[in-house]
């Protein structure tokens, strides 16, 4: 639990306006996405913690309360069936649904993003360092390549190759070879 979540905190501190002089608690208090991620990481840790079964009742109770709180207050739903890599950054609150998908490390997600499988079949696979804009729907078994960028309002209906910028409904490749390290806040 500590490893991926500390990476989340690090990403959040880099994305915020003032990266220095911020305590972890203040960042947690004002960032809804971080609270949702805390609940999600706790749940994932409890799923794999076979040896520490003695803390399961308390742990699952805390997970249940935290996830309920985040879902009702901010409407961010990170299901435990989603496989989220370390260092996810959630920009705004509201309307985020991640279910049965696979997200790589150092991704960014904005508000009103829906990453779910279609009615039948597997969920989408999102590789590392992908920036997903607001109002994006990725529904169905599609693969988004590493380092690509999906602009705001995109609806992904096919596979996206590596390192491209795609936008629109349905999503078309606007610019191949787009460098998204600046907007992700990576060096």
């Amino acid at each position: 639990m500590k490893g991926p979540f500390s990476h989340d905190l690090q990403r959040c501190a880099h994305q915020s306006a003032n990266p220095t002089g911020r305590s972890t608690l203040a960042m947690l208090a004002e960032n809804p996405g971080l609270q949702a991620l805390a609940a999600y990481r706790l749940g994932r840790w409890l799923l794999v913690s076979r040896k520490t079964w003695s803390i399961w009742p308390v742990g699952w109770l805390i997970y249940y309360l935290m996830s309920r709180y985040v879902r009702i207050v901010f409407d961010i739903r990170l299901h435990l069936s989603a496989d989220i890599g370390s260092g996810l950054y959630i920009g705004h609150f509201g309307g985020i649904l991640l279910r049965n998908c696979s997200v790589g490390s150092s991704c960014s997600i904005a508000h009103l993003v829906c990453i779910t499988p279609a009615a039948k079949g597997d969920g989408p696979v999102i590789e590392d360092r992908v920036w997903v804009g607001a109002h994006v729907h990725i529904v169905g078994n599609h693969r988004v390549g590493a380092g690509s960028t999906i602009g705001a309002g995109g609806v992904v209906t096919r596979d996206v190759p590596r390192g491209v910028l795609c936008m629109g409904n349905p999503a078309r490749i606007v610019q191949p070879g787009y460098d998204n390290r600046a907007i992700l806040g990576l060096k």
Binding site: V73, D75, G95, A134, H135, G151, A152, L165, G168, N169
Partner: protein, 200 residues
């Protein structure tokens, strides 16, 4: 109070009227609460008189208002944007609102996003004119201006300057009508998805 009257006129168009109904509108519209707390926060920005107790009261209310807007209205409105006159903000929420200016009598529905473009464009925030109708699930990003009397149909993504009295639709957006009169859209809170719906 002018805000409340504007909301009341929209929500109960063609229905019975009365002071009790107006009170119901004030307590039942979450967009109106959001607008009220935005006005308080904006008031705090404009005046910097640390000695007056009124300033401290308004600042405290605005501090309460931001989490309140986030939880109850499910929306965020930046306090440094200018909202001139009566504006309808949707009470269904999911409104992330950070434009430079919004004109009078503009109607903004739910699930809208106005703000800076992140991908590959210059910095700047949108300017929305007066008498504009913006449907649900719209994105307006970057340093663009929406002209007076324009209408943005639902699920569109605007990244260019929209001229006055234009009808815009699509993702990416296209102008599908010029010299379009949007008074039918702005008469009530009904949502029109297509131009064929407006005719009927």
């Amino acid at each position: 109070m002018a805000d409340a009257r504007f909301y009341h006129g929209l929500a109960r168009a063609g229905k019975s009227d009365g002071p009790f109904r107006l009170l119901l509108t004030i307590f039942g519209n979450r967009g109106l609460w959001l607008l009220t707390f935005y006005r308080l926060a904006h008031f705090c920005l404009s005046r910097r008189d640390y000695r007056s107790p009124l300033w401290w009261l308004a600042r405290f209310l605005a501090m309460v208002g931001r989490p309140f807007a986030l939880v109850c209205c499910r929306s965020e409105v930046r306090s440094d944007c200018e909202i001139l006159g009566d504006v309808y903000l949707s009470n269904k929420g999911y409104l992330i609102c950070g434009p430079l200016r919004i004109g009078q009598r503009t109607i903004i529905h739910d699930h809208c996003t106005f703000g800076q473009a992140v991908v590959g464009r210059a910095d700047g925030r949108p300017v929305i004119g007066s008498d504009v109708w913006i449907g649900p699930d719209c994105i307006i990003a970057g340093p663009v201006s929406i002209g007076d009397g324009a209408a943005v149909l639902p699920h569109s993504f605007v990244t260019f300057d929209v001229p006055a009295k234009a009808l815009v639709k699509g993702n990416p957006a296209r102008i599908i009508r010029r010299d379009f009169d949007n008074s039918v859209l702005r008469a009530g809170l009904q949502i029109f998805d297509d131009i064929a719906d407006i005719r009927t």
